[in-house]
Amino acid sequence: MPEMITIENINKKFGDTEVLKDLNGKVEKGQVICVIGPSGGGKSTFLRCLNMLEQPTSGKIVFEDSELTSLNESQINQLREKMGMVFQSFNLFSNMTVVENVKLAPVKVKKMTDAAAQELALKLLDQVGLAEKADNYPASLSGGQQQRVAIARALAMNPDVMLFDEPTSALDPEMVGEVLKVMQDLANQGMTMVVVTHEMGFAKNVADEVWFMDGGVFAEKGTPDQIFEHPQNERTQDFLAKILEA
């Protein structure tokens, strides 16, 4: 399978604090990677480096033949179109209705006509089960609904890869399922995905590969079966033991 993202020796420092240490990895087309691990381990920072929301201190990220760290502002903007991102806190634009949220980037960035964007947006909202909420403002939606709109918004740019940054962590437990369902459907359709998550069930069922991250390094990588059933690394074992206790 062709490689979509190649990560080479990524380091990231905030001041004197080393958050990411010499990370390496490959994401292949159609793969679902779940990044798990304890809080503060650098998972989110790693994910945000992938679309340059954070600039790595050193190292290379190659996305579809482009070396991201060497690009200028407008080139990065162009590549970001192909990398959808979903945030823990949804980040829907509060000044726009649901459908306007989804339409914004296709109209502004892809210069799609308003009519075409409207049609696309309604189709995507229907796909995440929220077509009837099109004209509501985000503040009137539940967390789970907002996150599904955020996914539709990212899909509207027809991205090659979707990045999820703990998409269910801010949700009430009863809403987690509806969001995971949408993500699972996406995976089934063959979308390449990198998911930072605490949902071990989702990682087990959907991921092609699980990367366990702790202390700024990938302590262990493997198939869900290898990581969850036969963890080799002591830190992985500790982490999973704590998770299962809870």
Partner: protein, 479 residues
């Protein structure tokens, strides 16, 4: 007084290059075909406003004199109203060709102004409350008492020098001084005899006494002021002044002024002066609305400059905001009108609008900066991760949300702009405050016009608040 000193000091800085020019004063007036007279029309019978069929006009002895001069020169007379304080600055900055405003050619003034021959000798009197008539007989009765006179006037200096232990209070407008007298803030107001006579004739609560001041050269006289070095114009005008003196025309002019004063006091109800207040409201609203529009446009610009990562642009933004917020609007208004006016001749209204806009921009910039900073960082990240550029993110996502957050603060700024724009009255813009003073002068009534103006201001600010609240509710999208 401070205002006057500052504007003169400003001239010291700017006026130098224009001094060297040769005397083309007469030629210039003839060429443009107009003679612009500067005057402070709150000094009956010299100059004051009358309300004729809803229109206000400057009339009085000085206006008749100016008309004669203009006629003799074969040009059209244009009258520019402004505070007495601002008249000499207006001369220096070519806003006016001459000043006829009951002005005495004192030695101090002669240093910076050329004067015509004397056209009137007034004498100095003191106005008192009629009830106090037994208490005071001349200036010596006022030892250690509070006295009033027009700021920057010769009467102010007379009182200061010739009344022992006097406590002089200066106000720009005679009408305000009369109010101060009636409310016993001062015990007497020093003014020229004809003016004092006019007030006493029209207000039964006032009386006048001879001040018995010892008057030095020029202090009893009234003459026409010109920009220093306008010899050719002065000589030509002196021909008219000599005729006026020979034919004793001032007597006729004073009688003429007297008839105007009677028509003025015939109807002193505020309804009669509705047109004054309407005009004032028009100008106040015009200045505020344009000030708000440019205040926002420039405010956004300065806020973005201040938020810029480029050091020089950031510095310029900070410098502008801090400087404008650190200086009074009054000085900014004078600076734009007189200071910048030295290089480009801008009308008072435009100067007022520019000053108010530039001032508002600084405050709006800080409000907008606060608003931009208040938008959650995740909004920017979400927009950027969709491929929107920094600019697109700002226009579509950040600014609309910032605007919603700062709407109440922005509304406060607009409301206070309605009130603060009143400062433009000092350069003669006929806003509500200016018209208030005009009505006070015309009716010899002090308090009622203040009440009327106060109510009008309140109605304007209150309605604006209501309108803004309506839009604030409209912008709320939180369930």
């Amino acid at each position: 007084m401070l205002a006057f000193t500052v504007s003169v000091a400003m001239l010291g800085v700017f006026a130098q290059p224009t001094q060297a020019a040769t005397d083309d004063s007469l030629a210039r007036v003839q060429e443009k075909g107009t003679l612009v007279m500067g005057t402070s029309p709150d000094y009956p019978p010299y100059e004051f406003l009358v309300n004729r069929g809803g229109k206000e006009r400057v009339v009085g002895m000085d206006v008749d004199i100016a008309k004669k001069i203009a006629k003799d020169l074969g040009v059209k007379l244009v009258i520019k109203q402004m505070d007495f304080d601002s008249l000499l600055v207006a001369l220096e900055t070519n806003k006016v060709d001459m000043v006829i405003s009951g002005m005495s050619p004192t030695a101090a003034r002669k240093k910076s102004v050329d004067f015509s021959n004397v056209y009137y000798k007034g004498g100095q009197s003191i106005i008192i409350n009629k009830a106090d008539k037994g208490l005071y007989k001349d200036r010596t009765s006022f030892q250690n008492k509070a006295m009033g006179a027009q700021t920057g006037s010769i009467q102010f200096n007379l009182g200061k020098k010739q009344i022992k232990g006097s406590n002089m209070k200066g106000l720009a407008k005679i009408s305000d001084l009369i109010l101060a007298l009636k409310s016993h803030k001062v015990e007497g107001v020093i003014m020229e005899t004809p003016s004092a006579q006019a007030y006493v004739d029209n207000d039964p609560d006032l009386a006048m006494i001879n001040g018995k001041f010892s008057l030095g050269s020029g202090e009893n006289d009234t003459a026409i002021g010109f920009k220093k070095g306008s010899t050719s114009l002065v000589n030509e005008v002196n021909k008219s002044v000599d005729q006026i003196n020979k034919q004793k025309l001032t007597k006729t002019y004073l009688k003429h002024a007297g008839t105007y004063m009677k028509t003025n006091t015939k109807n002193t109800s505020m309804w009669h002066y509705t047109s004054y207040f309407v005009k004032g409201v028009e100008y106040t609203l015009l200045i505020t609305v344009i000030g708000v529009i440019f205040g926002i446009l420039l405010g956004v610009l300065f806020a973005l400059m201040r938020l810029s990562k480029i050091k020089l642009i950031h510095f310029l933004g900070v410098a502008y905001i801090e400087f404008v917020r650190g200086t009074p609007l009054m000085i900014q208004v004078m600076f734009v009108y007189f200071g910048i006016g030295l290089f480009i001749n801008i009308p008072a209204l435009i100067a007022g609008i520019i000053a108010v806009s530039l001032n508002s921009a600084a405050y709006v910039a800080e409000i907008i900066r606060g608003g931009i900073n208040s938008v959650a960082k995740g909004q920017t990240e979400a927009a950027r991760s969709l491929g929107l550029s920094q600019q697109q993110t700002f226009v579509s996502v950040i600014f609309p949300q910032a605007l919603k957050n700062i709407w109440p603060a922005l509304g406060n700024e607009f409301v206070s702009l309605i009130k603060e724009s009143s400062i433009v009255s000092i350069i003669g813009v006929t806003d509500l405050i200016y018209q208030l003073k005009a009505v006070q002068t015309a009716t010899y009534k002090g308090v009622i016009p203040i009440v009327v103006a106060m109510v009008i201001y309140f109605v304007m600010t209150f309605s604006l608040s209501k309108v803004l609240n309506h839009y604030e509710r409209k912008m709320k999208h939180d369930a």
